[in-house]
């Protein structure tokens, strides 16, 4: 990549910071973006928190930027995002997610002792979210729709408090959207056995384009979450309908 190219990357990533609409040029690698964001943050006098810790299985694929909001399409993926900061000692809150399974959360590494659960956000979800954003590191939200104005205000508050929002379902103006694709379970066979392990591809979309994906054991036979090693597993061959993109973990 020549000098001109680098220049382009720099400008683009600045645009991505200030403009949520995204950019149309080739996406720079995630680490480069993080690095530049950190530099910009330092120039603007923001605390130089690079990012919140993420679960090792997601390392390098997505990092939770303080002040960011992330939309995911599966509950387990939301819990996996929570697990990183929670393991690190951050307080977490779950708002409006009446159906979350605590056992699954604990198994993924979410510390339930540092968890505030608000099953029903009530008549004024914006105030509930605002109050929690002030105090906890990560707020997970589900089944809540806010008017555009409140979303913008909440974003500003997230930025100020350096906390992260993880939304189950769609969320307007999300910094990144994470999807679980091509899930394949192993275990049950004609009534025998039970669900044992799952493979799924986590796909990260920023600004309308897929910027990365990774095939994960989610969970593996040993109930860990880890990237699938190179080479297709037996399960995948058995259940895959159509080609999937293989991304080095």
């Amino acid at each position: 990549m020549g000098d001109d190219g680098k220049e382009g990357v720099l400008v683009d990533s600045i645009e991505q910071v200030f403009d949520d609409g995204g950019v149309s040029s080739p996406a720079p690698s995630a680490t480069l973006v993080d690095d530049l964001r950190d530099r910009i943050g330092r120039m603007q006098g923001r605390p130089s928190v690079l990012s919140m810790p993420t679960h090792p299985a997601l390392a390098g694929l997505i990092s939770l930027q303080p002040g960011g909001s992330y939309a995911v399409d599966a509950m387990s993926l939301a819990l996996l995002l929570l697990a990183g900061p929670s393991r690190d000692g951050a307080w977490c809150a779950m708002v409006g997610t009446e159906r979350v399974g605590f056992e699954a959360a604990a198994a993924l590494g979410v510390d339930l002792d540092r968890m505030v659960w608000v099953p029903d956000a009530g008549a004024d979800p914006a105030s509930v979210l605002g109050a929690l954003v002030d105090a906890v590191g990560v707020v997970m939200v589900g089944g809540v729709t806010l008017p555009e104005r409140e979303v913008v205000r909440l974003r500003a508050r997230l930025h100020r408090r350096q906390s992260v929002l993880v939304a189950v379902g769609d969320w307007p103006r999300a910094d990144a959207r994470l999807r679980l694709r091509d899930t394949a379970w192993t275990g049950p066979q004609d009534g025998h056995g039970h669900l044992v392990a799952r493979q799924a591809t986590v796909e990260v979309e920023r600004g309308g384009r897929v910027t990365g994906s990774r095939r994960l054991w989610f969970p593996s036979r040993e109930l860990h979450v880890a990237p699938v090693a190179d080479g297709m597993s037996v399960v995948e061959r058995a259940t895959q309908r159509g080609p999937i993109e293989q991304v080095a973990g």
Partner: protein
């Protein structure tokens, strides 16, 4: 919460000195050395008397021998309270929410934003009080009234000692244990908590040494009140179990029939009810640190209610409440015969701390504060702490309790739960199972016989009414569960299945009496 305490040392002596000066206006030189005596010992004295060796707690004869021209007066707390009214009014103009602790001492919120800092606010207040003629006023600012009062006692005249936020432990460490003096219990039958004497005998002289004692031992030896002081000494913020107003049955009301004219009679008649009030709080496991006393009086045929907020650096005993009532009646005369007196606890603190043992250490203040804000929005039951317990259905394995309350573990997690679904656990658990449909090859619903036999292989299913039908890719089960077979009303015979659709979604379903329900989703 940041709290400021303003302290005017020797307030009774200052009041009597001013009285003397007023009475002998234009006469001989004003009295310099003056002492106020209570029960024959010096309670307060002027700086001039102190300079000649008069000390608090000295007997009359000793004091007079040290300072021959000492003027001695008897203590009249009503007069002190009335005179202190002026100071309270002055401070109230500068900051709302001034609550007297006793004559000469009051607590207020720190209006730091307006004056540009905590010390600056204190300086403005000192200036105003000096203009009023109160020369010696000292301020202390800290987290909570208890430490703020101690800080004020260490400040110099017209100055302010600020204990930094979170600095309570460092501040308390080297103070003598005498600062932990507590009011006598309301109930004469329970033995008094003579904490200070016992600690002295144990060779513990500093608050820091007391704080280093293990908490369970302090609780065992000194009871709940001692444990509360121990938490203060360790700088642990007392968790408000909930911000709900104390229950109305804790409010003490004394009605006088016929109405009483004299304040002494009011205080005397209220004694029994006030003792019951403090005992009632104690039974509820609470101590009251902020109290509102309301006095209803009949003035020219109308009912006039005067109410006032009182705070206490630690908590109110029954004698303290009666003192406050007496001071309030003299500072703010009812103007007519008193019909009723009410004691309303405004802020109570729990003596015990229940949630700590299960959920580890108390959360930091910020979380606690924002939880309180959320509780105000969705109700106290709407904010919950979570955990895992035992059970067969995924919904049974969830444990939650209202924030700050002790969750009741109905089913220990470490027992074997035969018939429960093996790990991994589902990430989505339906609180109310959703009606589902599972059919076999012929399109007939699949059913399970009493012996666990299937009527057919499941081929197509619909996990919820709003989802589309899809073919079954894989399935496991049935796991029959015969729950509560010994109890006819609660007995359930169900069988669980795991069903995986061709789209990769996996579900936990249960069939009961031929009907299918979705209990959880492995998403």
């Amino acid at each position: 919460m940041r709290t400021m305490v303003a302290w005017v040392p020797d307030w009774p002596a200052l009041v009597r000195q001013a009285e003397h000066a007023e009475a002998h206006r234009g006469g001989p030189a004003p009295v310099e050395a003056l002492a106020v005596l209570e029960k024959g010992v010096v309670l307060a004295c002027t700086p001039a008397a102190r300079a000649q060796g008069v000390r608090r707690g000295m007997r009359r004869r000793d004091a007079q021998s040290r300072c021959p021209d000492l003027v001695v007066c008897d203590h009249r707390p009503e007069v002190d309270a009335r005179a202190f009214e002026q100071v309270l009014t002055t401070l109230e103009e500068l900051s709302p929410g001034v609550a007297p602790l006793r004559p000469g001492l009051c607590a207020l919120n720190v209006p730091e934003r307006y004056y540009g800092g905590e010390a600056e606010a204190a300086a403005v207040m000192a200036e105003q009080l000096v203009a009023l003629g109160v020369w010696d006023v000292r301020f202390g600012i800290a987290d909570g009234v208890f430490v703020a009062e101690l800080a004020a006692r260490q400040a110099t005249a017209q100055d302010c000692l600020v204990v930094a936020p979170g600095g309570n432990v460092d501040f308390l460490r080297d103070l003598p244990v005498e600062v932990l003096d507590v009011p006598a219990p309301a109930d004469a039958s329970t033995p008094g908590l003579d904490l200070v004497t016992v600690l002295r005998r144990l060779g513990i002289r500093r608050v820091g040494e007391f704080a280093a004692l293990p908490a369970p031992d302090v609780l065992a030896r000194f009871g709940a009140q001692g444990a509360l002081l121990h938490r203060w000494a360790r700088g642990e913020e007392v968790r408000r179990i909930s911000r709900r107003t104390p229950p109305p049955e804790l409010v003490a009301t004394v009605a006088f029939e016929p109405p009483l004219e004299r304040s002494e009679a009011v205080v005397f008649s209220a004694r029994q009810s006030v003792e019951d009030f403090v005992r009632g709080l104690d039974r509820a496991g609470l101590v009251c640190s902020t109290l509102r006393i309301e006095v209803d009086a009949e003035v020219a045929g109308d009912l006039r209610v005067s109410s006032r907020l009182w705070r206490h650096p630690r908590w109110f005993g029954s004698g303290d409440v009666l003192d406050r009532l007496r001071w309030q009646l003299s500072a703010d005369p009812p103007g007519g015969p008193v019909v009723a007196v009410r004691c309303v606890p405004v802020e109570v603190e729990p003596l015990g701390e229940h949630a700590e043992s299960l959920f580890g250490g108390g959360p930091d203040d910020q979380v606690e504060r924002s939880v309180a804000r959320v509780q105000a929005l969705v109700g106290p039951e709407g904010v919950r702490s979570v955990g895992v317990q035992g059970g067969r259905a995924p919904a049974d394995r969830r444990l939650s309790a209202a924030w700050g309350e002790r969750p009741v573990v109905a089913r220990p997690v470490d027992r074997p739960w035969p018939g429960s679904v093996p790990a991994p656990a589902p990430a989505t658990v339906f609180t109310d199972p959703a009606p589902a449909q599972v059919v076999g090859a012929e399109g007939l619903p699949v059913s399970v016989s009493g012996r666990g036999g299937l009527s057919g292989r499941p081929t197509r299913f619909r996990a919820a009414a709003d989802l589309a039908w899809q073919p079954v890719a894989a399935w496991a089960g049935p796991w029959p569960v015969d729950e509560h077979w010994w109890d006819e009303a609660a007995a359930r015979r169900v069988a669980r299945f795991q069903v995986v659709g061709v789209d990769g979604s996996a579900w936990l379903m249960v069939v009961e009496n031929g009907r299918w329900w979705t209990e959880a989703r492995y998403d």
